[in-house]
Amino acid sequence: MEDIYSVITQTANRLYYDALRFIPEDVVGKLKSAYASEDNEHGRKILGTILKNIGTATKNDLLVCQDTGTPVFLVEVGDIQLSVYRLIESIRKGVRETTIKNSLRPNMVDPLTRKNTGDNTGKASPIVHIEVNKNLEQKVRIVAMPKGSGSENMSAVAMLTPAQGVNGVKKFVLKTVAEAGGKGCPPYIVGVGIGGNFETVTYLAKKAALRRLGSENSQPVVAELERELLGLVNQLGIGPMGVGGRVTAISLNIETAETHISSLPVAVNIQCWRGERAEAIIEPDLKVRVIR
């Protein structure tokens, strides 16, 4: 009889691999609109190449991008009893299994000696974020995000002052995207975290980058800031792969949390056009429903 931990292992195994092979439909939709609206000749050709590449990956059963990423998982649990230790170990096992079975490139190395662990696991790998979502009731939601390093390396965090305010936030986002330029594989999905403290703000930015494209922040004032900042980012003219053009970002998502009276943390998580993400729900009867 299967228990939930072996189902979690199988799900982590599958989602990690799926996220490397299939681009979420909402991301493909945005890339298609970008292709239709780009008027820079090179930019348009690059967007066409990106769409062709997604098709070739499916047709030839290949990975979309060679970067098998840093394995990041978001696990949302409803009102259910679960051992946190076994949950994390089950995901770790899934990552190890899929890395070996599918000959995925092992990326995790010691930061100083650069020695590779060989299976994409490590002291802090996979990174497992656990959240409670009471709407899930007896279900578990797992999202895999094998985050590519090209865009991750272009991400940044700033501890602004309250006096710098919203204007300071906008400036920091624009500077970070401009500095990323063509290096992090634009068109980007820009995840912005505002508030919390030093470590929560980067997580907010990551969650923003993970959010389904086309959705908006539930607070109208934040949703308005998302639209405004996306417009400003696209005025930079970085364009696909930095060659110039209208489309620098296909989405800009913001997540916020309360912060200290003397703080205004901001984080920008740059996500490349791949928008790697695969998601599934484990039902109370342990059936797994993959969400496309």
């Binding site: 090179h42 190449t49 990956a57 060679q66 490139r105 063509g182 930095g242």
Partner: protein, 193 residues
């Protein structure tokens, strides 16, 4: 209209002189795949490369691969950010005589002089387009330094590897930095500086 060019390796000075920024290139022949750790071994640890790279094309990447009965198969390969490898460019293009580097992203402004001085070109491949790069590989010819895992040195035979775009030509013209300068001007206006 973007001009389309087909290149066969090894490259001749005439091949290189004819390439101008913005042109679209497809490559046939042999390509050498390497990146951070491979270059560190050659230039920092001063280990002579096991193959002559003169007039050849280097692709900055690290494949996933497997080996069945001694035969290598590349599971996936794509380009990585060129800027990380900048400090090795003078050695690569100068003493080793490499003719072209395939990577992604703008390099620092002064890199264009290194290409000009050494009569070589920077070719931009679409970042993340690994399915296209992998599908263009016909065979893995040789692999050295497998202890570096994905960062080993690979010699592969490719057919119609592309599209690549000429990002720095032998005249030192730089497609991506020309755009980056405009981006910085627009940033200045947007920031009100």
């Amino acid at each position: 209209m973007i001009k389309m060019v087909s290149l066969n390796t090894p490259l001749s000075p005439a091949n290189l002189n004819n390439l101008k920024i913005g042109e679209e290139v497809f490559i046939n022949g042999r390509v050498y795949i390497m990146r951070d750790a491979t270059l560190k071994r050659i230039f920092d640890e001063k280990v002579q490369p096991p193959v002559d790279l003169h007039t050849q094309i280097v692709f900055f990447g690290a494949p996933s691969f497997k080996r069945d009965d001694g035969k290598y198969k590349i599971i996936s390969v794509g380009v990585t950010t060129g800027q990380r490898m900048e400090k090795y460019l003078p050695g690569l293009l100068g003493s080793l005589g490499v003719s072209a580097v395939i990577a992604k992203g703008e390099l620092n402004e002064k890199a264009s002089f290194v290409f000009k001085e050494n009569h070589s070109v920077y070719l931009l491949f679409v970042g993340g387009a690994a399915a296209l790069a992998t599908a263009a590989i016909q065979s893995v010819e040789r692999v050295w330094w497998e202890d570096l895992m994905g960062e080993a040195l690979f010699e592969v035979k490719v057919k119609e590897l592309g599209p690549c775009f000429v990002a720095i030509d032998t005249g030192g013209n730089d497609l991506l930095n020309t755009n980056k300068r405009s981006v910085n001007e627009r940033l200045g206006v947007l920031l009100g500086e």
